[in-house]
Amino acid sequence: MELEEVVSPQQIMKTAQGHALGNGGEHTVYPETEDEIARILTYASENGKSVSIIGGGTKRGFGGTKDSDDILLSLEKFAGVIEHVPGDMTVTVKPGTVMKDIQEFLAGHNQMISLDPEWPEYATIGGIVASNSSGPKRLKYGSARDHVIGMRVVYPDGRITRTGGKVVKNVAGYDMNKLFVGSMGTLGVISEITLKLRPLPKQEKLVLLSFSKENWEKLRPFTVSFLDSTIEPVSLELMNPALSKKLADIESYTLAVAFEDVESAVAFQENWLVENKPSEMNMTVMEKEEAVSFWKRFTELSPKDPSSSSDIRASVKTGSKNMDVFHLMVEADRLHHESGAAVYGHGGLGHGVAKMYIEGPEDKVITAVKSIRAKAEELGGYAVITHLPLAVRRQISVWGNQPSYFFLLSGIKKQADPEKILNTGRFVGGI
């Protein structure tokens, strides 16, 4: 049987090879229904074809050491809102739906998915969930895993399974949602996602806080006392001076503190900062539209396309103890000045996830990435490389060391995808 017998020829495109980010396919196939996804996967597993999955392509440089699989399964045409029940505060969408489209639709009902992942104008909800994306507002709202309440997933052999449900609270059986969230498409193709929603905040503001260059070390004790207060910031994101300069023209370590609440509560918290911040601390307040536009630029920091110059670009996600983000940002600053590559970084002092974006000649970028990983590991954390050109990914481990419980990860992969046809090599330890 040929692929043309599985879906209509119009849905298949011969693909140009040699994409600098890899993760391509000999043929790109565009399913428009869950049934078509199942048929394509059944065809692939029966014919020993390997499959790579793509949505908006913003994470094409994340993991994987192959130029191309046999089939590139693109979900971009499998998009749209399936069901939105405003009273239940849940929405069910197809995986290829672009984040921004969902948010605009929900905003019409004064609701939102309270996630702030990278590139909402391009990233699909399927990719966001498959990579468990999150942004600075994770401090209050959590990551993708905290929002998904149900899914439909097509296993590599074409079987379809449902996980979770459409209710916000559910402990029936194992929490299989968690298995697929963040699994980088290595266990199955997500064909439907139900998420829980929140009301749009009635007011939002962004406050940037910084000391002068000489006094920056005062930021840490201030942060500790701020965290210990009853103020409820939605983000408490520390930027290294390079990033702060780029986004806000402040060349010093800067805290991006967001408030989202009813108007009186936001006003109170802003005022609390005015009254309680050290006198030498600089404070810039951005009102709603300004705040929204700041965060939009924030989501566009991570590279998604191949570099057009001879320099290369990388992005790294680190996980550490919350306050160790300070040490990581100091390292990012050091590397920015000493490594020969530009290093922009930010991280959440209340949640421990930091991101660094590196640009420069290949060897300098590799050195910087390795230094960041060494620092993160020294602190008891980890570094995952979330973007690099294919050629460089082949020289450096994307996921770092295998955990001691790797046998569980490989065991799970084996149960779901025994033939190893799906996004192979894209995940931890070559899974």
């Binding site: 559910n170 194992y174 929490d175 298995l179 929140r198 103020i231 409820e232 103890k321 306050m323």
Partner: protein
Amino acid sequence: MQLMRRKKKVSANQDHHIEAFFKIVGEKEVLFEDVDMLSYNCDGFTIHQHSPKAVVFPKNTREVAALVKYCAQNDLPFLARGAGTGLSGGATPLNNEVIISLVKMKGLLSVDYENRKAVVQPGYVNLHLTNSISSKGYYYAPDPSSQYVCTIGGNVAENAGGAHCLKYGVTTNHILGLEVVMPNGDIISIGEDGVPDSPGYDLLGLLTGSEGTLGVVTEITVRILKNPEMKQTVLAYFDQVEDGSRAVSDIISAGIVPAALEMMDQTAIEGVEEGSFPVGHPRDIAALLLIEVDGIAAGIDEQIEEILAVCRNNHVKEVKVAEDDAERGRWWANRKTGFGAMGAISPDYLVQDGVIPRSRLPEVLEQINEISRKYELRIANIFHAGDGNLHPLILFDSRNPGETQKAVDAGSACLKACSDAGGSITGEHGVGIEKIEEMRFIFSDEEIEAQTRIREVFNPGNLLNQGKLFPMPGRCLEVKKAVQ
């Protein structure tokens, strides 16, 4: 004397397994005579009882690992148990298990305020954590009604919820790391130091709520939160259940995220007013709502005003705001002891735990009424209305022949009504043995098999907490397999 007697008994039985447990944990930490083990025959789900082979009380991870390894090597079924407050039979020794009781591993190992985390042993009582850190203004969010006695290890096994999970999430949203003894005795550690998003599949998410079938949790790193600046609680009485239900929807639609949004119907009110913490709720109302808002004090009044307006728009009979913390505390004690209070108005009761999309509340409540009429049993409803988690309490008298079974059937019918409304058979109590058959209301055989395949990875010998959660595959699947 006591020890002598025990030793004699053991040698008489020549049970070398008991001797082996003695060696691992010490003689004082092993129960093996039926009379000593009576309270381990079941957990909070008392309808099915079985006796364990032994109950052992390890004091540390090393002893747990040694016990598990011994059981694995000797083909002995075993399970882990906390305070035994589970409501679905998850800790019932169906197969004459060795019960590894974790109640002596009850330490608070560390609190790290700067990084907002605490490390506890599995036998640590839920409420003790909040009590230990409240002087610094912190708390642990998941608050099941049994929090004054249930253990955090048990909370992890069941992915426990509570009244305040509407705003703050359930246990899985608060677990940062776990140390786990695998069913072969190996010790693994996930999310060490509370570092978020460990690379790899989300094993924390999978283990949380796995009802003790994937491993024995021996250490837990949890997220702790800062106390909200202010809490305010509203109590609203309604003459019509429908008005109360509509008020719930309207509060949510107004863009308010209450910390808790609870409902009780007339029968439930009768129970709690006869129970240990009566607060003087009128008996002639159809339903009450308990609504709590917390956060920045400056924003609370605005939200309370809006909630009061919503209640008035929905024909509230009486609505009041708690005058002080003491009154707030009384209202909550009355609510949180609600299940037990049913003992005051009925010899026996069975708690159910269905979930529905919250917009389907009125119609499902009506169906539950019908079930009550059909089975001729009173059903009280206490529930987390905000997230659609219903707790129908089926009142019965086990002394009447056949009535226990009738109550079980009525409970199952309630879960069917929830499933048919697009909901689930359990929101926080777990499947255990109680709802095994009801799993079929929401999952196909293949979907159940997808889950047992995961169990296979962790627990290949299936010696750990066997016979829980999943029904045996239906005939249909077996036939399919035979054909293949």
